[in-house]
Symmetry: C2
Subunit: 170 residues, 2 copies
């Protein structure tokens, strides 16, 4: 894979291909940041307000599920999605309590499963869809390209925290 | 400014405009993460291996200077650039020692000054330039779009750390 090229990707329209290049690269770096971590490292908390690496990895996948619902299906989360991902849509006490004692493979499988849906759905859409705008109640405009750019920025933001935790986790 | 639209931006070719939309949005969030911080908060270190928010802000600007040299001017850093930015190209003991006791305005001015050059130079270039590829010694291909995407990812990564520090800095 040409990890360091932002450009056309087979199976996607031009702009979506560029977005997919970015999504692929960011995911590569997230996986690198998590590589080889043990369950106790994944559960490491330097202080009581911290999120664990495990919770951050789950949260990255959960956010992507939320944006799939919003942009691909234009609906709220289903009861089943809320049940499956409820502990990690927002990070906090609940994610600190519920997300622990898993192997890295558990988190990686969730990330991969969610991403497969994203790529499938992006492959079915075109650049006009990517530029489709909606507006917030205050009139602020937002397009699908921004929403998916936001998702990859969200992942990088938490990857920065994962690296910080990884450098300290025992 | 349409902060939540990734798309055409006046004064830039189509692909560069999309990149500029992303750069603008990311910078907005960085400034938000630093807003109102005092010199002591900017110098806060939770442990000895930490970087301060001030050092991270300087490092974000320094990385951009490095990529300007590499992509716009295709040269190494000048002696003057090395002198000005040397403490923060890499984060570590030197940045921990040298970057402190500044007001937020000091960091914001540096970020703004560097970004103005980036936007000026991007405005002079076109989409063909953005897709121009070079290769690493190992043959791996990389294009200018990727390099600038990397810079914004780098900024988001450190912004994630700034937020973490901000939530704890006194």
């Amino acid at each position: 894979m040409d990890l360091y090229l932002i450009g056309d990707v087979e199976g996607f329209t031009p702009q979506i291909g560029r977005l997919v290049s970015m999504l692929n690269y960011v995911r590569h770096t997230t996986l690198e940041a998590a590589e080889g971590l043990s369950p106790s490292q994944l559960d490491y908390m330097p202080d009581v307000q911290s999120n664990t690496i495990g919770a951050l990895l789950s949260h990255i996948a959960a956010a992507e599920v939320g944006y799939q619902a919003a942009t691909f299906y234009e609906r709220d989360l289903t009861a089943q999605e809320k049940d499956e991902w409820g502990a990690v849509f927002a990070l906090g006490d609940r994610s600190r309590q519920e997300i622990r004692d898993h192997d890295l493979s558990y988190y990686l499988a969730r990330l991969e499963q969610v991403r497969a849906v994203t790529l499938l759905e992006l492959g079915r859409r075109d650049d006009a869809w990517l530029e489709t705008e909606t507006t917030f109640r205050n009139g602020q405009r937002i397009n699908n390209y921004f929403k998916w750019f936001h998702i990859l920025g969200h992942e990088i933001n938490h990857r920065g925290q994962i690296r910080w935790l990884r450098a300290r986790a025992r």
